[in-house]
Amino acid sequence: MTRFWVLKILRTVLTLWFVVTFVFVVLRTSGDPVVALVGADATPEEVEQFRQLWRLDDPLWIQYFRYVMQMATGQFGISYRDGREVIDIIAERVPWTLILGLFSYIGAILIGVPAGIIAAIKRGSTFDNLIMATAVFGFALPNFFLGILMILLFSLSLQWLPSSGTGTVWHLIMPAITLATFTAGTLARFTRSAMLEVLDKLYIRAAAAKGVGYWKRIIFHALPNASIPLVTIIGLNLGELIGGAIVVETVFAWPGVGRLLVTAVSSRDLAVVQGLVLVMAVTMVLANLVVDLLYGLLDPRIRVQN
């Protein structure tokens, strides 16, 4: 048990180390890091500050070691765009993405999972086909296109919802829907197949033999089992969600990390880009850890390993 977690955490740390190294290598191979990070027309002070931060005269391995230590302690440096601490810039954006992400994620789960369950238990019916068709629609439409269509419909024509930005809970609705569509579609399809698989298991039949009612079998026997693979896919989908947020936040002028990434990339604010890459990687990796934890909680075969 402990060993399992020690291994997990070790792997997590290794993955993060990979990410950090990846950034270092890419930075090194794509040209002069000074120019790359502070820009061609940086002031000598900026260059000097940067050189001190990275101490570029040292041997490469020392630089690398120091760099890893700095990343590990969250010293992401200074944004070349507005001269502030990268960590502060990211910190003020994170809550917005969290709000949007959580809202759409929960929405996607609340819609996608029940839809998948219903499709599975009504397998082959018109209802099943309808749900699955909707699910495919959900991810066949580029989300920025969907977002703009929604703005034109709900903000411009009907004037029901605010077009962009933040403020009230109403501001959240369109971006969340846009972002959730893809995830909900994926979840519905996945839930359906996971449920179908579980519903055919012998223990469901055995439960029926005991006299357990239909819905009780679905909810108390099938669903907990189907949720085990589902948790994995929900965890994996977090990446898609962050990816989606990059586009959706731009469409709806939502001040989250996704938009920050786009502005940082287009202004080559590489210290910020680098910080964001790490923050997102940490998020994903932590999410995967949580998934593993949940996995263990849900599945006694993993939890109880003597």
Binding site: R3, V6, L7, L10, K201, L202, Y203, R205, A206, A207, A208, A209, K210, G211, V212, G213, Y214, H221, P224, N225, I228, L298, D299, P300, R301, V304
Partner: protein
């Protein structure tokens, strides 16, 4: 009032369109009485399981609605509404399944799962339920009932799981218990215990039991009455004695004749020199990871075996005893840690690369499951010809050899161009044997090669093996858990337990005068060992391929 508990009258279960027959179960009538064990026997596809599922209202959705009647306490279960039927099926009729580990929900504690029955059908308090469940566990002879109550299914052995299932089934003292091959997935010793338990329960609770099985040994062990089914129809029904000893129908007779006898026989004469000498084979499995320190299991622990040309050496033992690992070591699909293997006098252990690949020709293996043993995307002719091609024969000659072998194995030459899924299990096992023999091996390993087959098919495949051995003179390492089969085909038998060979000898001495307790236990556990059928000698497929010593 008659003592009849459950009766099936003119039951029809339609199959979906496109199936090979219209009905899975056709015009079936049978009944079970109070305190009676009715065994339904039949080969796979005979509809015996579907009958049980139809009675319980658990038929898969792709099958049509069953017609006819399933009468229980004056009600036709087939026409009852879902809720009423569920109340009856959970409380008054219980069912246990073939795979006990799969029948338990993996994510709930077993105590919970048994308690659920009480929660659904009674209004007992949590504490009362708990007490009842623990009592039940005690009754089905589970060790440490308190601890088991809090265990998860994966922490229990198959036999323990089946006991839990039986406990669940007996929870509300049902009137009828339907057991669908409840011991098939278990080891013989466990099977014997479960069967004993069933008999005790019957005696104690007067439950009417419908017991579905394909094993006549089991039938002989526990049945009061026996129903024989074939392709969805009832062939005959009668008392145990009537069916086992005086069958009326040909089909029943054929089935009975195919059951291997537990006749102790001597080693054949005229065996050649050794084709396999394995010395001091050791194989340890460890579950270590990055940090080491994992637990290790000695799967094969210092084992010696020798097989001579033309000899069949049986390797018997329960699951986990290391039989298969030993076989895989011999054929070097698994690398033994130490020990020497000589095949036809040549060293086999130290080889690698091309030399090893060439040497592999000499030893071949036939697996248990014929459904996974053939590349599903390769035509069977190519499958058989592949070995010779690998070893340098040109394609034409290899294919000619393959066709000859197909014929020798009782298959049409035209089958060469067909794919494995077009064949039945027995036919596939023949193809596997043909494939193994195509490279003209010195040694053939049959790893539970007939265990998954129906009894009549099993007899045919055993015959094929024996015939081919006669013709080609290879040695066979025959791995099985079925002592009946072993006694029928083997010249010598080695009994394996916990990675070691505990006893060996020819069937006559081993079965006649076992020295080790474990061997005795194994023998005692063979179901229906007291029963030996006396089929007519002129029955097809029953002729012994060789003389049996009296």
């Amino acid at each position: 009032m008659s003592s009849e508990r459950l009766s099936v009258e003119h039951l029809n279960v339609p199959l979906p369109r496109g199936a090979d027959r219209a009905f899975a179960v056709e015009d079936l009538s049978l009944s079970v009485s109070k305190g009676e064990i009715l065994c339904i026997v039949g080969e796979s596809g005979s509809g015996k399981s579907l009958t049980a599922l139809a009675a319980m209202g658990l038929l898969p959705r792709n099958l049509g609605k069953p017609q006819g009647k399933v009468m229980f306490e004056g009600k036709n279960l087939l026409t009852l509404d879902e809720a009423t039927r569920r109340d009856i099926t959970g409380r008054r009729i219980a069912m246990i399944f073939q795979e006990p580990t799969a029948a338990l929900n993996p994510i709930f504690r077993v105590g919970e799962q048994v308690s659920e029955t009480f929660r659904i059908h009674t209004s007992l308090s949590q504490a009362e339920i708990r007490k009842k469940v623990i009592d039940l566990f005690r009754e089905v002879q589970l060790p440490n009932p308190e601890q088991i109550f809090h265990s998860y299914p994966h922490q229990l052995s198959g036999g323990q799981c089946q006991r839990v299932m039986i406990a669940t089934a007996l929870a509300l003292d049902p009137s009828v218990l339907i057991a669908d091959e409840p011991t098939t997935a278990l080891d013989v010793t466990t099977q014997a215990q479960i069967l004993k338990l069933m008999l005790e329960l019957r005696a104690k609770h007067d439950t009417g039991i419908i017991f579905i099985t394909h094993d006549f040994g089991v039938v002989a062990e526990i049945a009061d009455r026996v129903a024989v089914m074939q392709t969805g129809r009832l062939v005959e029904i009668g008392t145990r004695d009537e069916i086992l000893n005086h069958p009326k129908e040909d089909y029943t007779r054929r089935l009975l004749a195919a059951v291997p006898t537990l006749t102790p026989r001597k080693e054949r004469e005229g065996l050649g020199g050794p084709v396999l000498i394995a010395r001091n084979i050791v194989k340890t499995f460890s579950r270590s990871g990055l940090f080491g320190g994992g637990r290790t299991v000695k799967a094969v622990d210092d084992v010696d075996i020798t097989i001579r040309r033309g000899e069949t050496l049986g390797l018997v033992g329960e699951s986990g005893s290391g039989k298969s690992t030993l076989a895989q070591c011999v054929i070097r699909l698994v690398q033994p840690e130490s020990g020497d293997i000589l095949i036809s006098g040549g060293d086999f252990t130290g080889l690698s690369g091309k030399v090893l690949r060439e040497a592999r020709r000499k030893v071949q293996i036939v697996f248990q499951d014929p459904y996974t043993a053939l590349d599903p995307r390769q035509k069977v002719g190519d499958s058989i010809a592949e070995g010779p091609v690998i070893h340098g024969l040109d394609r034409k000659a290899a294919m000619a050899r393959a066709l000859d072998l197909l014929e020798a194995c009782g298959l049409d030459r035209a089958s060469a161009t067909r794919f494995p899924h077009e064949f039945s299990g027995g036919q596939r096992q023949r193809i596997c044997i043909a494939r193994a023999l195509a490279v003209e091996p010195e040694l053939l390993i049959a790893d539970e090669s007939v265990s998954a087959l129906d009894v009549s098919v099993q007899a045919q495949v055993l015959k094929l093996l024996a015939d081919m051995q006669e013709r080609l003179g290879f040695g066979i390492l025959f791995i099985t858990h079925d002592l009946r089969v072993a006694s029928q085909i083997c010249d010598n038998i080695a009994v394996m337990r916990n990675g070691r060979i505990v006893e060996r000898g020819d069937p006559a001495s081993l079965f006649g005068a076992p020295k080790e307790t474990y061997t005795k236990e194994l023998l005692a556990a063979v179901p229906g060992k007291g029963w030996q059928h006396h089929a007519d000698k002129n029955e097809a497929g029953t002729e012994r391929s060789r003389e049996e010593t009296p």
